[in-house]
Amino acid sequence: MNQFVLQHGKSAELLLFPHILEVGIKKNGAIQLNAFPATVTQSLRIYYIIDGRFEWRIDRLPYIIYPGDVVLILPGSSFGSDNGVLEIGSFTWIHLNIQKLDNGHLQPGSWSGLSESESAAIGKILSLNGSPVISKCSEVGKILRCIHTELFGNEVGYQASINHQLDELLIQIGRKMTRQSHSARDFPKSFMHLEAVLRQDLAHQWTVEEMAALVGMGTTLFTERVKSYSGFSPINYLINIRISEAIKLLKRPEISVTDIALDTGFYSSQHFSTTFKKLTGYRPSEFRKNHLRNS
């Protein structure tokens, strides 16, 4: 396909797709200066390299990108090359208007067919991911090509087809990312990583889907592995962490029990109290009173 750029608000092809802010292919035959300056946008930007070799800077860190690689730029991140140099080669891209929630997680819009927990899981993966470059990800190239064909072909059902392809794009990137950062050889390491992520955001209502997705596994395999490794189901393991954090907070008299409940991921102080009592025999307030009396 020849090079092209379609932009939201300018190109009629995108009228039905307000969530696609820009889509295009660039084939660059000669080195150009000031053609690729660093920019910051509020959209999710995805680039796929077809051929050539590019030196780009993402959030000020330098990366070298090769054919087959995918670059993912989160909303609010800066992206471009030093001096705006654009090297020889070709690539294709898409900019999506994806909501960034208050907690920093990404969530696709109503166009998406992903369920709430699936899109939360993928959003979590994308926003927590350490490296913006995913190597050897030709699936993304294929999906983008398919979107281009659909955009210009206008065959029956193309609107639904493109939205499906966008979901597929996010799914593939999410899966690739977790596989890239989690070796299938080292479950303990992945589990430690998951443990750290859970602790950083205990207040979040974690689902098994989200936890499994974070270490790049399906829920069935994930539940089985967690059970045999830890002796607990994923949710019960999470409850362990929640209660042990809660115990630490209960020992500090200045925080209210309700705040502790919400901070440690219980949806109400009632829910906290029941779970806490079931495990320890104390209601949280009793535990606190007892502890303060003894000290």
């Binding site: 050889r185 395999l221 115990i247 495990l279």
Partner: protein
């Protein structure tokens, strides 16, 4: 029916067993808790998570095996990993995480004390090798490098002391755990004044010492209710994993030794006297006031084979380390013994006994053009076991070893047990189910109840049904190769140190 519960606070988690009064297992459950490595030499665990996990697993076990069958719990007996330190403030609140046995932050302090005259004196008095694992050195480190935490610490506990304190309110440390702190005099059975002085503390900052049979108070009412246990349930303070594994294998008596290989490993003997060693290579820990568990520990056990499997195993089933390890074992069994002259020094994590060299590193030696991947597999396993043999051999210079038992998840793999028998040229016995530590805790509880008159009598009743016989020709081959292994383990002293310092120099800059 009456039953005894044992709780094992291990390195990776907690294991709870229920035994009937004859020592048969009614049921068991485990729960994992993580170790945090926030800095390279640090190794810590969250005391509240250990507590909650313990409570959770105990409750699940009671609800699954004990209450539905209307069994009556007579006692709960504890065992724990050694060398942990948990400073708590004056209200008993943990000041940060517990520091585990594997923590190396005090390596500089250890080096200094080891080369000082005081080091020799403290080793002889306390039985604990001068090594960063020792709570003596961890507390000393804190005094120098974490002054605020040191100042705020009202007491320095062990993980077990903390858990028991949560359950009953008592603040105690048993002889076995205490004798592995480097702070207790194993001859006088009191805290050792010189050690305390070195660490900058007084006895008021340590829990009270208690024999392993001590009943550590009553369970608090809330726990009695949530666990549905009768108020007369006894909580026995118990002992350490090392001492109880030795007791559980019935090693009490002349000529017996036991080999434990889990992630790390140890060779141990038990008796009424300590092992004296000018080179400070052996530990001497207390089971009771007249019974010492002595031996040498290694850093490099099953964890090294796990490392190898992760790098070179087949992972067609993702995340399935176990079947990958099994497959490697099978491949290794097809290689001639001695791996046709490929030797492996397993010092990936430095080494404790017998060379006590934190700078030691791993090496494959003797590689020729005919060696294949499979030779590396077998050489790796043999290297781990040569190291165990070298500990046994140095122990054997002081105590004649006639028979051996083996326990721990790596040591009891049949392929490994047979190699151990061949290397030592001695019969090796083992228990088919893997629970020597918990069985030791059962024997301790049963002795306390009067089922056995003494631990001696309890140990004598232990029967280990599995036996691996040594094969003479195999022993001869291993003995030939071992000569070279032993020389290599000390010959590379300078180069170990040199490569180690280059490794830290260049890995910091990258």
């Amino acid at each position: 029916m009456k039953c005894i519960i044992t709780i094992e606070l291990g390195t990776n988690g907690v294991r709870v067993f229920a035994f009937d009064l004859n020592g048969r297992v009614i049921g068991s459950m485990k729960g994992y808790f993580p170790t945090f490595h926030t800095e390279p030499d640090h190794s810590e665990q969250d005391p509240e998570q250990i507590f909650i996990t313990t409570l959770y697993v105990l409750k699940n076990l009671l609800n699954e095996y004990i209450h539905p069958r209307k069994h009556q719990v007579v006692s709960i007996c504890f065992s724990a990993s050694m060398h942990s330190v948990l400073p708590v403030d004056k209200s008993g609140n943990p000041l940060g995480n517990a520091i585990t046995w594997a923590d190396n932050r005090a390596k500089k302090e250890a080096q200094e004390l080891r080369s000082a005259a005081l080091g020799k004196k403290l080793y002889a008095a306390t039985g604990t090798p001068i090594h960063p694992m020792s709570p003596l050195l961890k507390i000393t480190w804190m005094k120098h490098r974490d002054t605020e935490r040191f100042r705020l610490a009202s007491k320095f506990l062990s993980i077990k002391s903390y858990i028991i304190h949560q359950l009953t309110g008592e603040l105690l440390m048993d002889y076995s755990i205490a004798s592995a702190t480097g702070l207790m005099n194993i001859h006088t059975l009191h805290w050792e004044a010189d050690a305390l002085k070195y660490a900058g503390i007084t006895t008021s900052r340590l829990p009270e010492l208690a024999p392993v049979f001590t009943a550590a108070g009553k369970l608090k009412k809330a726990y009695l209710q949530s666990l549905r246990l009768p108020p007369e349930t006894k909580v026995l303070i118990g002992s350490s994993d090392g001492c109880l594994a030795t007791l559980g294998d019935g090693v009490k008596g002349e000529g017996k030794a036991t080999i434990t290989i889990e992630d790390s490993g140890a060779v141990r003997v038990m008796g009424p006297t300590v092992l004296k060693d000018e080179q400070m290579r052996f530990f001497n820990y207390l089971l009771t006031d007249n019974c010492y568990v002595s031996g040498g520990p290694t850093n490099n056990g099953g964890n090294i084979f796990e490392w190898f499997s992760r790098q070179f195993g087949d992972f067609t089933n993702p995340f399935d380390l176990e079947s990958s390890m099994q497959q490697l074992m099978e491949e290794a069994s097809k290689v001639p013994l001695g791996s046709e002259g490929l030797l492996f020094l397993p010092y990936l994590l430095g080494e404790r006994a017998p060379i006590w060299n934190a700078h030691a590193r791993g090496a494959y030696f003797g590689l020729n053009i005919k060696h294949e991947r499979k030779h590396f597999i077998r050489a790796t396993i043999e290297g781990i076991l040569y190291e165990i043999y070298s500990i046994g051999k140095t122990l054997g210079e002081q105590r004649a070893i006639k028979s051996l038992s083996v326990n721990g998840s790596f040591g009891t793999i049949p392929f490994c047990t047979q190699i151990i028998a061949d290397m030592f040229n001695k019969p090796v016995k083992l228990r088919p189910q893997l629970h020597s530590v918990s069985f030791g805790a059962y024997l301790l509880s049963a002795t306390e109840m009067g089922i056995y008159k003494s631990l001696d009598e309890a140990a004598q009743t232990v029967e280990l049904p599995g036996v691996y016989k040594p094969r003479k020709q195999h022993h001869a081959v291993y003995a030939d190769y071992y000569n070279i292994f032993e020389k290599l383990s000390v010959k590379l002293y300078d180069e170990f140190e040199a490569i180690g310092s280059l490794q830290s120099k260049y890995s910091q800059t990258s």
